[in-house]
Amino acid sequence: MAIDMQPESDRQPGREPGGREPDAPPPPARPWWRRPAVHTALAGAVIGYLLGHLLGNVIAGQYSQVVNSGQNDYAIVLGYVLGTLGWLAGLGVFSDLLRQMTGRPVHATEEARDASAGLARYFRYSLDHKVVGLQYLVGMIGFFLTGGLLAMAIRTELLSPSYHVFSSATYTAIVGEHGTMMMMMMSSLILGPLGNYLLPLMIGSKRMAFPRIEALSFWLTPAAYIVLLSGLMFGGFPFGWTGYAPLSVQATQGADAYAVAFGIMGISLILLGFNIIVTVICYRAPGMHWGRLPIFVWAMLTTSFLMVLAAPVLVGAMYMLITDRTVQTAFFTDDLGGSSYLWENLFWFFGHPEVYILALPGFGVVSEILPVFCRKPLFGYKVAAAGMVGVTLLSFFVWQHHLFDSGINPDMRPVFMLTTELISIPTGFIFLVAMGTFWKAKIRFTVPMLFALGFYFNFLIGGISGVYLSDVPADTTEHGTFFVMAHFHYTIMGGLIFAFMAGLYYWLPKMMGIRLNQTLGKIHFWTMFVFFNATFLPLFAVGMAGQPRRVYTYARSLETLNDWVSISSFLLGVSILIFVFNFVYSTVIARVHEEGNPWNSRGLEWQVSSPPPPGNFARVPVVLSGPYEYGVKDAPPVADLDPPLGVISNAYAAAAAEGAEV
């Protein structure tokens, strides 16, 4: 089903045709173990996997390439796909669709009851955007920690060039899992939790446009996670997160896990972005016109466009890889009319926007936090928004800078060099905005602000090193080395993760009504900032000195630097543990409640209590002024939270009339 049209009907007065009587008692609740939740989903996944595996063996069990190679990619892929469908069916994703198909009204009653239930609702297919946001939050932190553990394993192996903790096979498998886990699962690190939770609050809506799609986009991520990790049981995949064909076509079953997991995550990204775009366009409160949209919402909107338009190409490429490995099409086999370049083009056509899918939300979060703690309006709001739009547009035209040495279209390299360098202009806007906002500000060094400042420092290094990579002669030395690795860790780990931490410390009081411990937060920041830089700054030198990426052994002369990096990375891991301790301690054990507006922010989301009540706003708010009017004398309040009767209907009537004329 492409688009789910049926909205929630529980708050509608009157009776829908064919619907339940409004006054009729709700159907009796089933016992908990019969209601769809994680346990039924797991059961569905197991049944689906076994079914798919059986089906694959029936279809392909006798094929010579299956018999000889001792592996059956058909069975594995069908197992994964049907397992995922079973997982979703077990959650009850398809029940409303089936009701619609058989002409019965959609019942939102159980979900409505879940909205007030306790912990159990977080394990269900909940349609409440606040529940989905928190589900995403815990999920993303879990995925991040898994990827981080794999990074520790990588650095353990690289402690010595000659003594090996892991075999080269295990090492490449770990590298592949780490890269894929971080690049694909972390794509929705900010839009998933903060986006789903805060977007309706920031634009004055009670809901997202398509709650079922929203919930689906989350529930696909655990499926992708399990499928991806299951690749380890088949020996992993030896080709990193980029999966260059023909290496990925010739690899063993671990490659199926990679392709299916990345495909599932791609679909999740499309759905997530789709929902956010439609919500921003259609669900803004009266008065929330484009010039008053918080900058974080601009970041989410532009990121979502990247997701919706780039991720389909990723899904298509993964699908081609799967058909090459199973039904033996020859997309990537040169002898049979395919081309290994085709994969590189398709993958990076997604892969470069993906980089900005990771970076843009970070820009949004720090730009959103900056005015609050500078106590000044955001400098150059329009420049910031235009920069994000510019990055979005340009990011579709730079993908071949990953292929400067590959021999693809060598005469086009100056063009891609130019577009790549052009993209640094809109990216530079975030520094203009930050520096302008600092001008004569009253900077308060709270934990979120510290992380935001850390973001600017790291992203400066990441951005400047990116300019080196855009230049073909310089890139010839740097391409495929630890220099590139250090560069994108500065933009993603130093950018996205620092921004995520800033956002988390800033908005957790809003999302959970609980404040994270600030002392632990400061310790967390300083250890993370210091050891992050201690880990990744030397890696620029390591790469320049000639260490290629994804190697389990290296030149003996680089051992000292690598040891320094490894030890720093373990300490970086310790600082992440401090965060985990702080998160668990503050949310589970200490629970210091924070209900008001602790940062004295003008954001619309802070104008309601924390955590927000069901439905977010008692009435549809009418937005009266922009969110960053700090220090403006006689600035009107952000919004009228209880507008008089008629104001709202005038707003939408005008909009509807305008639409009708078109």
Partner: protein, 314 residues
């Protein structure tokens, strides 16, 4: 408004200092010193060295970009440090900052300056790329930037899981596992692969080009000093990617000629068995495959992944 250290203006007190001038004066020496250090102290030692024309180009590109990047970076850092010190929140000051929403002049200047820097970098990069015959990067099978002069020394680089071999077509087409180059001669690397994508990276020569199956990727360089060359694989190619290394040699022309003469004789028996020199090799086109098949049970040439549909299978 409390004026703790006098830098913040209050209604009756000292006038607001010129922050812009102060930041500029702080920035200028930092940027100057950084640039001078980069140019004169660090520059000559920047990787990948100056062993060949392409390596020297890359070194100068990295040097010039560092000289351009350092002032920009210094500006942001100096500004940030100044802001964090001077414009920090003081205890007891609960007022908000001045309501500055933006400044068109500042924004336009910023955009103009960054655009100029970026465009000049793009022009600079293109010139550097075209100048020394592609700057050592892989240029595909129809290179548009070539060295001037006669036909360069042809060296075919063949990547396979997990080792490099080299063919010298101008010397009878012998194939060897060692890379030997003469100093002062233009070299054309023809890089290809027999299975998956590798990347031929001769570090000191500043040559990096992907080895793609069935595709010839050309890179040029001209060694200018003798010495050792570390060859690595820069594209993950499977289990032993990290071990796909060799050490090449750049030697004098006479030593090179002596080496080729020796290798040519020593490897004559092998060279007879090799397929004729071409720019790419079909990995599964095996001469006399039928004969092999008849003599002994054939097990898995080309893997048989595509079964009997494979055009070159018996």
């Amino acid at each position: 408004m409390p004026a703790a250290d006098g830098t913040v203006a209050d209604g009756a007190g000292r006038p607001e200092p010129n922050h812009g001038l102060r930041i500029f004066l702080l920035w200028l020496p930092v940027a100057l010193v950084a640039d001078l250090l980069i140019w004169f102290v660090w520059g000559p030692h920047l990787p990948p060295g100056a062993m060949s024309t392409s390596a020297a180009t890359q070194q100068s590109a990295i040097k010039i970009m560092s000289v351009m990047a350092a002032p920009v970076m210094a500006l942001v850092l100096v500004y940030g440090a100044y802001a964090l010190v001077v414009w920090r929140h003081r205890e007891g000051d609960d007022e908000d900052g001045p309501p500055i929403h933006g400044n068109t002049r500042v924004s336009v200047t910023w955009i103009g300056v960054t655009s100029v820097i970026v465009l000049s970098l793009a022009v600079f990069g293109t010139v550097e790329l075209a100048g020394p015959a592609g700057a050592g990067a892989g240029e595909g099978n129809t290179p548009i930037w070539r060295p001037s002069g006669g036909t360069p020394l042809q060296v075919q680089v063949i990547g396979q899981q997990w080792r490099w071999t080299y063919r010298y077509p101008q010397f009878g087409g012998f194939e060897t596992t060692s890379l030997m180059l003469p100093v002062g001669e233009n070299v054309q690397f023809n890089i290809t692969s027999l299975d998956v994508i590798h990347s031929f990276w001769a570090y000191q020569l500043g040559v990096k080009a992907d080895a793609n199956p069935d595709i010839n990727n050309v890179a040029y360089t001209k060694p200018e000093h003798t010495g050792q060359v570390q060859v690595r694989c820069a594209e993950l190619c499977g289990l032993w990617h990290a071990d796909m290394t060799t050490v090449g040699q750049v030697v004098s022309l006479s030593a090179f000629n002596a080496w080729t003469a020796t290798a040519r004789t020593q490897l004559a028996a092998l060279t007879k068995e090799l397929p004729p020199y071409t720019l790419t090799y079909d990995p599964n086109a095996v001469a006399q495959l039928g004969k092999v098949f008849q003599k002994a049970g054939l097990s898995g040439a080309g893997g048989g992944f595509y079964g009997s549909q494979y055009p070159v299978q018996p």
